[in-house]
Point group: C2
Chain length 218, copies 2
DNA sequence: TAGATTGTTAATCGATTAACAATC
DNA sequence: TAGATTGTTAATCGATTAACAATC
């Protein structure tokens, strides 16, 4: 099944999008699809789709195409979405609160255990179904519950010190919303960055340079 | 100054990160930097840095390096950060509220005018310094204020219909947080996607496949 | 002038696309 | 069997890296 050797980040970043489209097809009752049809729907090339899937093994059948439900299940397994990784969120500001209460962690493979904040006044509040703790309680909480992932919704200036505390507590996986490049100072940790400010500036560039438009990204 | 022809999206996505590092260097009082030094700090190659900057013109001086303040100003201009593009935000749920009150639109080149929501109960509320309006007021508001950009913090199911309304109102630039691929159905519009669910799944993959780690991204 | 470092061309590397044999 | 479509190899394209002449 998985031949999975050295799959490039470009392929991995396309997997969630395949997963979304396959989920939609499944909901609509479509049971098989060819790389050609999927390419039309997703605005990709059929070649790329076949190459991508073949990084992980042959999920299709010659002359037929791909079974939607089976392919979706394979991708779900590859992404590790059944894992339910125990997760904590750091920073109960606007952004942290929005994520804790709004995001569908379960279907993304994560299980939110608790929120932490510097501000003692927030202690005991419940956000998105979990309690807010003080940051000083991190070591004790981690010893007890052994979370694997931390979501960072804190200012860039606070990030370095929090990350080193979290690493000492055994956490090496980060979903990072702060404008601090964790991987530069802490090589070896796993970081997925969402730099909202950078994204906004990229949009600003595209709008300001419509005379030289850029290829659409999906 | 700008030779700016056909700059690839890969280069553009690095510009905000250059801007961040140059801002920090400037704050620390550093007035010149070589591509070699900057490469060490940012974990890039000196070659890539020089190639990137030369897409837009020669900002450096042989034998000396780059003037930090001047280079930062050039990048700011290239990104269009002085523009202050008039912007509206659609969707006053958790995410929309967090962005309206938390994000620094000004320094990202945007000027937030108003928030819109389907729910009439929210009408008149003030979030992040601007008023919440009903979605039905969109056409009138747009005729009067001519916003150029819409930030979409709405469910995927609502997006198609809202986007066609917005396009009729003259808005063709979108910062899209919904899991709906705008550019597929509305070719020609400018879209910057932030697919948080996709990002979460990518992190899930990386954690689930630590045996085959992926090159760090900054 | 000598040393440093850019701007730019050439070489390499990797990712995407095209082609086609295998096979359902 | 004939038609369709995959899996996979080969060709192309683009982006990154290396090299070096220009020049401050």
């Amino acid at each position: 099944m998985s031949k999975n050797q050295n799959v490039s980040i470009a392929v991995i970043r396309r997997l969630p999008r395949y997963y979304r489209y396959l989920s939609e097809l499944l909901d609509r009752g479509v049971d098989k699809i060819s790389s050609k049809n999927l390419a039309e729907i997703m605005h990709l090339t059929a070649s790329q789709i076949r190459q991508d899937f073949n990084c992980f093994g042959g999920f299709g059948q010659q002359g037929y195409g791909y079974n939607v439900a089976a392919l979706r299940a394979e991708i779900k397994a590859i992404l590790g979405l059944e894992n339910q990784l125990d997760t904590i969120l750091i920073g109960a500001g606007n952004l942290g609160r929005a994520f804790a209460s709004h995001l569908d962690f379960k279907s993304g493979g994560f299980n939110l255990l608790a929120v932490f904040d510097q501000n003692p006044a927030l202690e005991g509040q419940v956000i998105g179904g979990v309690k807010v703790h003080r940051e000083t309680q991190l070591p004790e909480f981690c010893r007890e519950h052994k979370p694997k992932v931390a979501i960072l919704c804190i200012p860039a200036t606070a990030t370095e010190s929090i990350v080193s505390t979290l690493i000492e507590c055994g956490i090496t996986n980060f979903w990072n919303f702060s404008h601090y490049d964790i991987a530069v100072r802490f090589p070896g940790v796993t970081v997925e960055n969402v730099h909202l400010g950078d994204s906004l500036m990229t949009l600003c560039y595209q709008i300001s340079n419509k005379d030289h438009p850029v290829e659409a990204e999906y």
